[in-house]
Symmetry: C2
């Protein structure tokens, strides 16, 4: 019985998302190394194992530690935090760790402090301008590679990119154009360095590109993460349909305000997160879907989360529909950002009464 | 040693904030019933006990359950969620519980399902328009009071308001004007109902009003919460100086991008929350302060969090200062919203090496 904000997971939708991405990777002859920062759950991770995935991506050492009990090849796709050298060494002793490097300081530090073997990717800025080496900065790339070359504990694996700027797209064409630029940048680098490093690989992976693009030439592996659940942001970008979104928050109705056609739910920023969309209604923090016997259905038109306090959610409802709702009932709300909403909740509930734990 | 994002609490600043608000309440002859949703910590709660506080406010049944081990008079300042009737009864059996009511449906449900005595406040909308009864809707007030009157388990305590619209203010005068309107609304209601209920009290309490206003005539208790830590939002509103902010996030530096004068820190939306300010620079997610031997000092000018991903924070730094920073060091960052940042972290670290737990 639902008594407070509860994060529901539709296992069927989630497994379909996993299968679809795995098949797409296979069809395109690239390896799927999914990013697990979205679900952060050993159990959901095991569904990836079932289809044949054996390598994963995470975004912190803490996540790598958590998943290292069941996964033995983990990429930490975050600029190496040298302050965590101790847990890095512990992980490297136990499993295959692939680090992301984008400056000389980190590689110098690793050269001096690593006690076990690690693989490193050079993080390339494919245009998002959040992290990474400018692809034209061959000087820096060469300097880092020279340092790696002389160290017995560090193996150069290849180049890694993340086209996070696809999140600004609102058309398929926009995503494909960005993806094409990433492919060009990475192909150039591959061509330049393949003679020196015949086994180097190219790793790319944002959910919009991986969901929409059909050309992955030159790419060896993809690292999408969000697709496991998808969300309203990805839907607005064009990555997924509403029916593919695999999580929804059940939120009790605690007040109705007919004069302003608003519902107050127990479900606030500490449940859905303060991530927001700028959509046709203005700022949106979530959208309400219809309830079905074993899950949820389609969006209820013009019914959305217009603001969030710590524990309150304010739902805007069409004037002639406010009387369809009653106090003591609950709404099902699709999150704007599934990664941050999941991060705020301790577990996932399923419709068959299961409680799925997470980090 | 700091190795990953760590939330630091300056105990001295925090205790000064507590003392100052307690003295102000005493001086104005109102009771301080602090809101504990900001810190959610039994230990920090005990510092309130030390100065003489014996009643508290929370915003969920879960928080009330947590604090009920040490506090026996708790107001749940959130529209009563009737789906949690079971834990409400359990709490009511153990301690004095004060519920917030704003509709007939909830009071009817309580009348039928309460097994132990509770106090109720009627929540009045003093102008924020998030929750509460319109103060002119005496019909609804009377209907609810009539239902309470005939039930042996429900005692009417008084009227409760929250002027959350002070958060839109940027001047002291603006806050004082809103506060004055709240006082007028509540005085009118008090006058109307005091003959029928000679012991009714008026409870108000948002941090801006309680920090800035000096007139509390007609008010019996105040319920501010955020003041225990304060934050950048409250500073922008005018509630506090930067030096009163009692928490800061230590975030390791993992990359430097001189060309765009940006630092990348390990510290993202899952640490600081996605709460944001619209300030002179545009959107701001946090500000960097100088580090001192036992804490932190003043703001470093023009050095702020310009964007947040899940684990990444991007810090904008003046062009001629980027070389003052180095990878493997850490920054101290003041949060935009201390309630949501604290909620994301498992504990508070102090400079004397203590680890303070929270819900």
């Amino acid at each position: 019985m639902i008594t407070k904000p509860t994060l529901f997971l539709d296992k069927i939708k989630c497994k379909e998302n996993i299968n679809k991405m795995f098949s797409k990777a296979k069809r395109n002859n690239v390896e799927l190394r999914p990013h697990f920062k979205t679900h952060q759950s050993l159990e959901i991770g095991s569904w990836f194992k079932e289809v044949g995935v054996d390598k994963i991506t995470v975004s912190s050492i803490s996540m790598a530690e958590y998943f290292s009990s069941q996964w033995n090849d983990i990429t930490i796709a975050f600029p190496t935090n040298i302050l965590e050298i101790e847990p890095i060494n512990k992980l490297a002793q136990k499993i295959t760790v692939n680090l992301s490097i984008e400056n000389e300081e980190s590689i110098l530090f690793l050269c001096e402090n690593l006690k076990f073997e690690v693989n490193v990717f050079l993080k390339i800025d494919v245009g998002y301008h959040r992290t990474g080496i400018e692809p034209t900065n061959l000087n820096l790339i060469d300097n880092i590679l020279n340092k790696i070359d002389t160290n017995p504990f560090i193996n150069f694996t290849g180049f890694l990119g993340h086209a996070g700027h696809t999140y600004n797209c609102r058309t398929e064409q926009g995503i494909v154009e960005i993806h094409k630029k990433s492919l060009d940048i990475m192909s150039n680098l591959k061509q330049k360095y393949i003679i020196q490093f015949p086994n180097l690989i190219i790793s790319l992976g944002d959910t919009p590109s991986c969901s929409v693009a059909e050309n992955f030439s030159g790419v060896n592996e993809i690292r999408p993460g969000n697709f496991v659940f998808y969300d309203l942001t990805q839907n607005l970008i064009g990555s997924n349909s509403i029916s593919q979104i695999a999580i929804a928050m059940a939120c009790p109705i605690v007040a109705l305000h007919e004069n302003r056609s608003e519902i107050v739910v127990y479900g606030g920023g500490v449940h859905l997160s303060k991530d927001r969309l700028n959509d046709k209604e203005g700022v949106v923090f979530g959208r309400v879907v219809s309830r079905t016997e074993n899950g949820w259905g389609d969006l209820i038109p013009n019914t959305y989360v217009k603001s969030l306090s710590q524990e309150h959610g304010i739902i805007s409802v069409p004037k002639d529909e406010i009387n369809n709702y009653k106090i003591g009932d609950y709404l099902m709300i699709l999150p704007v950002h599934s990664c941050t909403a999941s991060n705020l909740m301790k577990s996932y509930s399923t419709f068959d009464g299961q409680e799925i734990s997470r980090l």
